[in-house]
Amino acid sequence: MIELQNVTKIYDGNVIGVQDANIKIDQGEFVFLVGESGSGKSTLLRLLIKEINPTSGKIFIDGQNVTRLRSRKTAKLRRRMGFVFQDYRLLPKKTVYENVAFAMEAIEETQRRIRRRVPRVLNMVGLAHKSHNFPNEISGGEQQRTAIARAVANNPVYLLADEPTGNLDPRNAKEVMDLMEHINSLGTTVIIATHDKETVDRMQKRVIHIMDGKVVKDAKGGYDI
């Protein structure tokens, strides 16, 4: 469970990122964070992955106050999370297989488990046949699915995505969202920041709408307030 209590983030130069946010996300939920560019939804995600610390307020993840964590503990916390970025962020010099395996190597998994797990997740995202291709040899949609495979390789409790469909055409975007829904159905909490109105309206999930750093709507349904 993720809980934000009166979380405020003010950047240098008095730029407001998030203001007094109170959000609670239960285990197994599927949540959209929506809003215009610069509204604060990325700030919210960056707070959750501990890329930045809140100026005030508290963030609890599975009951643990993560507001001030040391580097080693942050590493441990991040192992319960998977991240998907708008620009995929695959390592260009590693194959699809190696990119996914890299996530497991980075948290010091055994080679045996890596060899067993990687083909399974690649199969799930439908890329088993591309496992030996390099990122520049596959399409944007396939790259994003590789990134998702990497994010779920370590069986995360939470899957966080920042504009995962931002660079994709509608067909690929739908594939990626279907994949997210499938992962959610396996028990992973999914949190997606997006301004893709069409997708949000179609999927009818819980929507947290942020405007100028403030939560203006938190309800199941479509994109609009």
């Binding site: 580097s71 590493a75 441990k76 390592l91 010099k93 980075a106 948290i107 010091e108 990497r150």
Partner: protein, 306 residues
């Protein structure tokens, strides 16, 4: 960190080297260039020092024994001097030996034997010139040593090359300090240059580092591949200058032997190849590896803060 993670890190580091070929080549050449200059300076300093020490060795103190010292007590006195601080070697030269050596140096050969010389042989004019020749480890200590000798009644007169000794000891000090300072400067320059080059390699791979951190890799896990890369750069960077200096030094040695006559090459005694290489190769490896590790760690700091 677990052993197999170390294995993964080492593998990553080696892959990094093959995948960042140009960057690594640039770093290796930087290390090589610095170590090469370091090696040349080292060869010069060591040889000049050895030359100076050699001259030092020939700067002895001559202490003439008083006529009251009986022949029998010479061995005891010799022992006493030998046990004094800083003494490298003591030789006793009897009056007869002194006369023989004087005759030889004046050209009174046996075949030229004149009556006078023969007569003098019966009555040694240098009867009182039995002496000790004393060599110290450091010719710079002569002054102090001589004043100590002067307090001993067994000696009637003491001769030594005070000025030469002082000059030699000064030259030695200047060269040693100068060489050390130069080598230190070179090491600092090498670390700066290498950390800059590795900074580029880290910059190229900043995404990789970022992703590793997002996935939950610990700092040490992120660091090790770069440190491995640094070590490899250090080792590769030592080989080239070691080989180059080996050949250059060999060429110089051959040239000296061929071009100059024996007296000169005996006077300027060059250190042998093995004497130079025995010190230089470990020094290259240690400096190269240390510089590689420091360079990687310096350049990584900024990117670990994600």
């Amino acid at each position: 960190m677990k052993l197999r993670s170390v294995k993964v890190c080492v593998k990553e580091g080696l892959q990094g080297i093959s995948r960042n070929g140009w960057m690594v080549t640039a770093s290796v050449l930087t290390v090589s260039a610095c170590l090469f200059i370091f090696g040349i300076v080292y060869c010069i300093v060591m040889n000049v020092r050895s030359f100076a020490n050699n001259l030092d060795d020939n700067l002895g103190i001559v202490a003439f024994l008083s006529s009251k010292v009986p022949e029998e007590s010479v061995p005891t006195l010799l022992d006493q001097i030998r046990k004094m601080d800083g003494v490298k070697e003591v030789q006793y030269i009897s009056a007869e030996e002194a006369w023989e050596s004087f005759k030889e140096s004046m050209g009174f050969g046996e075949q030229l034997g004149t009556d006078m010389v023969n007569r003098l042989d019966q009555d040694n004019p240098l009867a009182d010139s039995a002496s000790f020749q004393i060599y110290l480890y450091d010719a710079g200590d002569q002054e102090a040593f001589v004043s100590q000798l002067k307090t001993m009644p067994q000696f009637r007169r003491i001769q030594y090359a005070a000025e030469t000794a002082a000059v030699m000891s000064n030259i030695n000090r200047v060269i040693t300090i100068g060489g050390l300072v130069l080598i230190l400067l070179l090491i600092i320059i090498a670390i700066l240059l290498i950390s800059n080059t590795i900074k580029l390699s880290v910059y190229v791979r900043r995404e990789e580092i970022e992703i590793m951190k997002y996935i939950g890799a610990t700092d040490s896990f992120v660091r090790i591949p770069f440190v491995v890369e640094g070590i490899m750069i250090g080792i590769l960077g030592s080989i080239l200058p070691a080989v180059t200096i080996y050949f250059i030094y060999r060429a110089v040695l051959t040239l000296v032997v061929r071009q100059f006559n024996e007296t000169f090459s005996q006077m300027i005694h060059f250190l042998s190849m093995s004497e130079i290489m025995r010190m230089l190769i470990p020094a290259f490896l240690v400096v190269g590896i240390a510089v590689g590790i420091l360079g990687s760690l310096f350049s990584l700091r900024k990117y670990l803060k994600v």
